[in-house]
């Protein structure tokens, strides 16, 4: 579905060149939920931006293979929901259809469906600032669902919401991803979140970001949040933390 080969991304930081992503290779299969796990500032988000062409890559190549000629092939759910403040939630959520000049009635129907599937039906007439952070993030996910791309890129979508909302949103994304069978790349720095949601977890090193190892998550689907309570889950959590500990420490020193 998506293959990333030897991709590097560098930024100019003053007079120095900062290598954010260092020769990353990843193969993501159709319908797979891949989590990118790594310490803060390891280039996870940068890699997503490179996939949608928002930052230029220095080397290597990114290829999306999709049978349907869908545009855009990969849609981002942003860390901050990045809603347009002067548009009502409905018109934010239906933006991709508006850009494709779909008729208003059809757009509104699609927006309502997406809002309902994210549990915020009936909030279409509100402006973004009238909603809570969690509801705004739901609207951000609904916007990506309306665009209906083969690949969904999620950039720490729950980083900015409180812990309880986070758990609710995790449940919802888990259920949705199993229902829609979309290809998802999900960036997170939470081991628990990666184990709960992912089929595979690509563990990244501190900057410059490299893929340190890829872990297959053994829990069968459909899975629910009860997997958290299994001994195996806790065992994996420990193992991954051992892998990440040094990287997290390095990231902290660097920052």
């Amino acid at each position: 579905m998506l293959s990333i080969e030897n991709v590097s991304v560098a930024f100019a930081a003053g007079s120095r060149v900062l290598l954010a992503v260092d020769r990353v290779s990843l193969e993501v299969k159709k319908g797979e939920f891949l989590c990118l796990l790594g310490p803060s500032g390891c280039g996870k988000s940068t890699l997503l931006k490179a996939i949608i062409g928002l930052v230029p890559v220095q080397g290597g190549r990114i290829e999306v293979r999709s049978d349907a000629r869908v545009h855009p092939p990969a849609v981002m759910v942003w860390q901050e929901p990045t809603l347009i403040p002067w548009r009502k939630i409905r018109d934010n959520v239906a933006l991709s259809l508006e850009l494709r000049r779909v008729a208003a009635a059809e757009r509104h129907a699609a927006a309502e469906r997406a809002l309902a599937s994210m549990g915020i039906a009936g909030f279409g007439d509100y402006y973004p600032r009238q909603l809570s952070g969690g509801m705004r993030q739901r609207a951000g996910i609904a916007r990506a669902l309306v665009a209906d791309p083969p690949i969904l890129l999620m950039d720490e979508p729950f980083a900015a919401v409180d812990a309880q909302t986070r758990r609710l949103l995790q449940d919802q994304v888990l259920a949705l991803s199993q229902e829609l069978r979309k290809t998802v790349i999900f960036v997170t720095h939470s081991i628990d979140e990666a184990l709960l949601l992912g089929d595979r977890i690509a563990v990244m090193s501190a900057r410059p970001g490299r893929i340190k190892t890829i872990i297959d998550v053994p829990f069968p689907r459909p899975r629910g949040t009860e997997v958290r309570r299994s001994a195996e889950f806790q065992d994996y959590e420990e193992r991954i933390w051992t892998l990440l500990k040094d990287e997290a420490a390095r990231a902290e020193v660097a920052a």
Partner: protein, 279 residues
């Protein structure tokens, strides 16, 4: 005890504000905001009539309004009002529209920013009215130099505020729209332009007030007609009431235009207004 329980519901009921219609709320709002103005005018009227202040310099408002009406009836007002309005509106359009466009260009296109940012920074502190004699040399007497100086005065606040508005845009929004398939044109029309509207209007309203001041000042020295020239002429022949009447008329232009712009702004930017009201 019995008295307490009986009193409780009544107290609760009185805590709820009585229902008011929209119309009544609007009327009350208008009365509340005009009361201080009317009060001040009344006070002026009283102190002028009783001779506490010198009526030669501060004629009572009633006499000034009467004078406006009389002068208008004698045909001494309309021509000058028309001339001033034309100069002012032309100057405003010729200055503010290019100003807004340059501000947008500077915000969106790197090369414009690189070229104009330092130029604007250097020129901005120069008092624009000081350029008037140069325009008199170039254009001669009459309307053109006055329109030119008005345009120049409008230009800078329009550029600076619009530019600031585009720069203040959430940097992720254009990328988000592009990711959803927006073309460059769609990013401009659906993201960048509406995002810049609030500050653009702030810039236009700022320009408006400054430009009217500039236009009248220019008319003082460089015109034979127009309200500014009339104010100056009546000062020279020591006709204070006529002077006041013209000041009232020129102020009315400013008030009317400022309110018009505010109304357009409210209609276009209701989302912004809603946010303000919620805080």
């Amino acid at each position: 005890m019995v008295g307490n329980t009986a009193a409780a519901p009544r107290a609760e009921a009185s805590l709820l504000p009585p229902e008011k219609s929209r119309w009544r709320l609007a009327l009350e709002g208008a009365l509340a905001s005009s009361a201080p103005v009317i009060g001040a005018l009344l006070l002026w009227q009283i102190v002028a009539e009783t001779g506490v202040i010198d009526r030669t310099f501060f004629p009572p408002p009633s006499r000034i309004l009467l004078k406006v009406w009389q002068m208008n009836a004698e045909g001494l007002m309309a021509e000058h009002l028309l001339v001033t309005s034309q100069r002012f509106l032309l100057g405003f359009l010729l200055g503010a529209v290019p100003g807004v466009l340059l501000g947008l260009a500077m915000g969106w296109i790197g090369i414009f920013r690189v070229i104009f940012d330092p130029i604007i920074t250097i020129i901005y502190p120069i008092p624009r009215i000081a350029i008037l004699p140069l325009f008199l040399v170039i254009f001669g007497l009459g309307s053109p130099p006055i329109i030119a100086v008005t345009a120049l005065i409008c230009f800078f606040p329009a550029v600076v505020t619009t530019y600031a508005g585009v720069k203040g845009l959430d940097p992720n929004l254009p990328g988000m729209a592009r990711n959803l398939g927006a073309s460059r044109l769609q990013i401009m029309t659906k993201i960048a332009l509406p995002a810049s509207l609030p500050v653009m209007f702030a810039g236009l309203r700022l320009s408006l007030g400054l430009a009217l001041t500039g236009e009248v000042s220019a008319e003082f020295v460089a015109a034979t007609n127009g309200i500014g020239a009339e104010i100056w002429r009546y000062w020279q022949i020591y006709r204070i009431e006529e002077m006041y009447a013209n000041i009232v008329v020129v102020s009315t232009i400013g008030i009317v235009l400022s309110f018009t712009l505010l109304r357009i702004q409210r209609r276009l930017l209701s989302w912004d207004e809603g946010v303000e009201l919620m805080r």
